[in-house]
């Protein structure tokens, strides 16, 4: 594994902020714990110098804000398909952006097609190979889980 989990957490945080600010115009604040309700999640796996998965868990409030801000529609026009689309696109961008920051001699990674699930799976505690990062905004809550393993 090239970077420590703590370094990867920091890289992931930068990627999350970049994606949410650039694509969704949402400014996130750290939340200390995961005592928030998540309604849906998008998951993407990657393979390369390191392998693993990134999960994005969102409340409906957060997902609605993502859809409205990205697509420029009001809350009466939001559909489940919009939420699925935005969640999958977000996790795809976060994962791709994060992998681009890893120092792995420019070895390419294979990314899966993101999957969407409702309801979201439960949030566990950090482990040796998994870190959770929790955020809040005025619209709702989100969390990301990064799990990595040596290829």
């Amino acid at each position: 594994m090239m970077e420590s989990m703590e370094t990867m957490r920091k890289m992931m945080e930068i990627s999350i902020f970049e994606v949410f600010e650039k694509m969704f115009f949402i400014f996130l604040e750290h939340a200390g714990d995961a005592d928030n309700h998540f309604d849906s999640e998008a998951v993407i796996t990657f393979r390369g110098a390191v392998s693993g998965e990134v999960r994005l868990l969102v409340s409906d409030g957060m997902a609605g804000a993502m859809v409205m801000n990205m697509l420029g529609i009001d809350d009466t026009g939001i559909t489940e398909k919009h939420i699925e689309d935005c969640a999958k696109e977000a996790v795809n961008m976060i994962c791709g952006n994060f992998l681009g920051k890893l120092h792995t001699d420019d070895q390419a990674f294979d990314l899966s097609i993101p999957l969407y699930r409702r309801p979201a799976s439960s949030v566990a505690a950090d482990g040796d190979s998994t870190v959770y990062i929790h955020y809040l905004s005025g619209d709702g809550a989100m969390s990301t889980a990064l799990q990595v393993s040596a290829a």
């Binding site: 859809v67 420029g72 919009h82 689309d85 952006n97 681009g100 420019d106 990674f109």
Partner: protein
């Protein structure tokens, strides 16, 4: 002069965003065609001529790199400039895309200005829709 654009992305939302950015960027667009993956893009190209293709990489059925390879094998379609818009921003992935004939590469997440700049550069038009790359804009959008 106006141009036909084909946007290839499995995300309907991302296609909408790119379409909106392109149409608001001052780029003179005639038709905007859409496809959900490389295979659908080739189906569209059987029926319609486009002046530029904007394509994602990570898509089901036929991904963007496979689409580039298919276009490269076709004497006519290889002339269409392709701009890759992807989360996969590692240097070797970009070089792979360029090696397969991509003319531009935009990393997601992107700013609207980035799409416009690459699009205008690849097509070779200025903000008045005229050929010749003498851009004279101030980089601002009129949304």
């Amino acid at each position: 002069m106006s141009f036909n654009v084909l946007i290839v992305d499995d995300s309907n939302s991302m296609r909408s965003v790119i379409k909106k950015i392109v149409s608001l960027s001052g780029f003179k667009m005639d038709q905007c065609l859409e496809a959900g993956n490389g295979k659908e893009a080739l189906d569209v190209l059987e029926k319609s001529w486009v002046d530029v293709i904007i394509s994602d990489i990570n898509m089901p059925e036929m991904n963007g790199l496979e689409l580039l390879a298919a276009l490269k094998r076709d004497d006519l379609l290889r002339e269409i400039p392709v701009i890759v818009v992807s989360t996969e921003s590692r240097e070797d992935r970009m070089q792979e895309a360029y090696g397969l004939g991509a003319k531009g590469f935009i990393k997601k997440p992107f700013l609207p200005e980035e799409i416009r700049k690459v699009l205008h550069g690849v097509i070779g038009v200025n903000d008045d829709g005229e050929y010749g790359n003498d851009e004279k804009d101030d980089g601002d959008f009129d949304f």
